[in-house]
């Protein structure tokens, strides 16, 4: 496990300012909002984060993170 016990850091998650624990990974963030990682894709600062790298990608202060999924649409 990476990211020791740093203090909270602020990111923009899906357009909302959100505090996460210092040292949190993308994987932890994703798990907080979805049950099944295969249902989402993640962008960090406009770059794709491949699913294989979720657990090794740290969240940094100020990160703009999008966790997206499929919805009905035409």
């Amino acid at each position: 496990m990476r990211g020791g016990s740093g203090g909270p850091l602020r990111v923009v998650l899906n357009g909302c300012e959100t505090d996460v624990l210092g040292g949190a990974t993308i994987g932890q963030l994703v798990d907080r909002v979805v049950k099944d990682r295969s249902r989402v894709a993640v962008e960090r600062n406009r770059e794709i984060v491949p699913r294989a790298l979720y657990d090794t990608t740290d969240v940094s202060p100020g990160d703009v993170i999008e966790v997206v999924t499929l919805v009905g649409g035409g």
Partner: protein, 258 residues
Amino acid sequence: MEPLRIRDRVFKSRLILGSGKYKDYDEMIACWEASGTECVTVALRRVDLKHERERRNLLDVIDRKRFTILPNTAGCYNADDALRTARLARELGLGEILKLEVIADEETLLPNTAATIDATRVLAKEGFSVWAYTNDDPVAARALEEAGAAAVMPLGAPIGSGLGILNPRNIATIVARAKVPVLVDAGVGTASDVAVAMELGVDAVLLNTGVAKARDPVLMARAMKHACEAGRLAFLAGRMPRREMAAPSSPKEGRFTG
């Protein structure tokens, strides 16, 4: 009948349905089944931070053995956003297919063809099979093809309008010149619109509101299935020539009356 081929994807049904505006998932799936579609288009959006965990995700609902998922870039107003959306869709495991739409403005929801051409060029190089939503301009359709689109998808009428095929000649010109499949996307309001589109020679029709907002969506989905079949068969059969003058169907010879 010949199946529809777009790059290496093969579909027996020539109808593609949307996934928006349905009352609920059950109605949506029932419509898809009734329509015979094998390919459905879906949008990408942020997960709802509060409620996503409790909800059924669309991917839990769709039987992917039965329905190919065609992610789209609906809601993108520039090429960059469309590129981001395309890449996220691929990351979601949906493969390389993509319905690319770059919308010009919220008022008309018409495509920005210049930006769509640009995005097509980039995505084609990245290996995407780009199904490019466009207006009914034969010049834009050809440019999209030259930019690497796997299919071009001219509109029949504005998105959600249900006005049918407003300029059939343009669609026919696009078909006549295209080397990639042509799909009519947007504008279909009822079954006969699908038949008209298919009779113009397009390879398939994509529709959403026409089914989802019918009074009885499942019944309309069945109607669309038959209309698609009807239009395709009529196109292949070759219609009778139009005549300005009447011509009798019964013989003149042998009349015993006045």
